[in-house]
């Protein structure tokens, strides 16, 4: 892993889920990309094993996001994959685009919640090939 400056990135990966946490991640990524002129990769993945996945963004939501970022002059790549493991999809995207920083939204979790469900954000933070910026939605 070559050491790059995550505060002056050339490529930013944002883990996007269609909720406040994912939106917070994308908004921060957007701000960083605007300031540094970095390329932005937005990953919106789903396991695709249930009929409805609330965290998988609707088509029109993705379109409006793409439009917004494009008008701001950000070079953006939005990936919408159906994969066995969402965290792995984010990490894979970071590896492929040799990202300098990954941005994830994190949330409070109860002890029981931690016991029952694995966290995508935690997997990303621990296994990422580059620094990870954890952001929270505005209160």
């Amino acid at each position: 892993m070559s050491t790059t400056n995550p505060l002056q990135p050339k490529c930013v990966v944002a883990a996007y889920s269609a909720d406040v946490y994912g939106r917070a991640a994308v908004e921060h990524a957007e701000a960083i990309a605007l300031a540094s002129g970095a390329r932005l990769v937005v990953v919106n993945a789903t396991r695709g094993d249930s009929l409805v996945d609330d965290r998988f963004a609707h088509e029109d939501e993705v379109e409006s996001l793409r439009e917004r970022l494009a008008t701001e002059g950000i070079e953006v790549d939005i990936r919408r994959d159906v994969v066995p493991d969402v965290a792995e999809a984010v990490l894979e995207a970071a590896r492929q685009s040799s990202a300098d920083v990954i941005i994830v939204g994190v949330r409070h979790r109860t002890p029981v919640g931690k016991l029952l469900l694995g966290s995508v954000a935690q997997r990303v933070i621990l296994d990422a090939p580059c620094p990870v910026l954890a952001v929270k939605p505005p209160r």
């Binding site: 789903t46 396991r47 695709g48 094993d49 009929l51 609707h58 088509e59």
Partner: protein
């Protein structure tokens, strides 16, 4: 009338009320989930009949059947994917309404329309079942033989796109029904002693519906999630009521008779209702963009047809849908002979069932109107967990039939058959009807020939039988003429993916 009140008395006992509740909750759940229909739910529930009284079990089964009709509309409207085949038409206008922000009204008109149609259908049953029973009790074995033949041909040729596939399914079912030594001779047992008693229908039904479906889902596990439309409490404005009540009544008028016919089912009346509403509407500009009439009519039609299905089931012992076929088997498994004598021999059971239909309908309205958003949450269940549960209950059910591991091998074999049928687009209904009615038909044939001393002409010796044969001839002629006509230009297959989800 007294009998009806007694029926209510029996249906309203705490135990039976509990089973009715259980049935409608379960029915709505399986209706909401695409791929899992009331037929699969009943197949998985068949082992319940070993430990529960006949009236409770039948009441629960009827609840599941009605509940499935309600639940299907929720998925159709919110997801544009019909929960089961009778809601395919609802999706056309229902989802468009939801996209325009009128999901609440669409759900409301579907639920209230279903309630009204179901209630009218139930009242019609109260009137018709005793009368029809009095008439059909006169029918002899030859007429029955003819009627079953008609049922076979009807479920095979009327429904589904391909007659050939229908017949493949029918003959597969008949062949499975032949296994055993019921005639004194060993047929298709391959020298295997465990096959001598025949193949239990529970094993076949569970395998075809549950295992086949689970294998199919496993083969198509990951697909892009569908976009669900968020919805609040269903409600309707005055304008919606005004535009809904006529389609409700017209839908009922289509649904009930079609349900009562052999090969009725809900697909035809819902489609006819949709076409009619499209023609009669005062808002033609809204059709195709979310017209409330296009939801109200078909939804009423599918519930009315569910009620109509009960008529041949209770009076003739003839099922017209897969779900009804499994209900028929459940009745048989209590040692009760379905058919014209059912009402005379088991008036308590029949009237309790007829009364419970009204109760189930009311319960469904109560749980569906306020809880629609909650039901939609079921769609988030990940498939691996859901189908693991289904496989567990399927295996348990098949094993509990005889407590022998051989049945599990059969379960797997028929499960693979069910998977293959889905893969090659072979309809399941003819197979299930043939497995259940096939042995019955053979019995009637033997009975008729025994009475006549082997004279074959007895088969057309009854007027009803002759009429039925004429109907069969007309049907076959229609099929033949249709086959000779040049094929219609292929329609664009837009809904291929959806069809895959529904026609199983």
């Amino acid at each position: 009338m007294d009998l009806l009140l007694e029926g209510f008395q029996q249906a309203l006992t705490p135990t039976n009320l509990l089973f009715a509740c259980l049935g409608v909750l379960l029915g709505t759940a399986v209706g909401v989930l695409p791929g899992i229909g009331p037929a699969m739910a009943l197949a998985l529930l068949l082992p319940v009949t070993y430990s529960v009284g006949a009236d409770s079990a039948i009441i629960m089964f009827a609840g599941v059947y009605y509940g499935g009709m309600y639940g299907g509309s929720t998925t159709s409207i919110l997801l544009n994917t019909p929960g089961e085949s009778s809601s395919v038409v609802t999706a056309i206008e229902g989802n468009k309404m939801a996209k325009r922000g009128r999901a609440a009204q669409a759900l409301a008109t579907a639920a209230i329309g279903s309630f009204i149609a179901g209630t009218i259908g139930t009242v019609l049953l109260w009137i018709l079942v005793p009368r029809v029973s009095d008439v059909v009790v006169e029918l002899g074995a030859p007429s029955y033989f003819a009627l079953m033949l008609l049922a076979f041909l009807a479920v095979t040729t009327v429904l589904g796109a391909s007659k050939l596939r229908g017949f493949i399914s029918l003959f597969l079912g008949l062949a499975i029904g032949l296994v055993g030594t019921s005639t004194g001779q060993a047929r298709l047992t391959f020298g295997e002693a465990k096959l001598a008693d025949g193949i239990d229908i529970v094993v076949v039904a569970v395998a075809i519906f549950a295992i086949g479906e689970a294998l199919w889902v496993a083969a198509h596990l990951r697909r892009k999630p569908l976009e669900i439309i968020p919805v609040g409490q269903p409600w309707m404005g005055r304008q919606d009521w005004k535009r809904s009540w006529k389609p409700w009544l017209r839908g009922t008028a289509y649904g009930f008779p079609f349900g009562a016919l052999p090969a009725g089912g809900a697909e035809m009346p819902t489609f006819l209702s949709y076409v009619t509403e499209k023609k009669l509407t005062r808002h033609p500009e809204e059709f195709g963009k979310g017209a409330i009439e296009g939801v109200a009519g078909p939804e009423a039609a599918n519930n009315a047809s569910a009620a109509g299905t009960m008529l041949p089931l209770l009076t003739l012992g003839l099922p017209t849908t897969a779900t009804a076929a499994i209900m028929l088997y459940a009745i048989q498994s209590y040692g009760i002979q379905p058919g014209p004598l059912l009402l005379d021999n088991e008036p308590g059971l029949v009237w309790a069932l007829l009364a419970s239909l009204l109760i189930a309908n009311t319960l469904l309205l109560v749980i569906n109107l306020p809880l629609a958003p909650l039901w939609a949450k079921l769609l988030r269940i990940p498939r691996p967990q859901l189908y693991a549960g289904i496989l567990f209950f399927a295996t348990l059910g098949a094993y509990s039939v005889n407590f022998q591991a051989f049945d599990l091998a059969l379960l797997l074999a028929f499960g693979v058959l069910g998977f293959a049928m889905r893969r090659f687009g072979i309809p399941v209904l003819p197979l299930i009807v043939a497995v259940i009615l096939g042995p019955e038909m053979e019995r009637k044939l033997t009975e008729a020939l025994a009475l006549s001393g082997g004279e074959v002409s007895t088969l057309w010796g009854e007027p009803v039988a002759v009429v039925v044969y004429v109907v069969i001839a007309l049907m076959l002629a229609a099929v033949a003429i249709n086959g000779l006509r040049p094929p219609a230009p292929a329609q664009p297959e837009i809904a291929d993916d959806e069809k895959e989800l529904v026609e199983r």
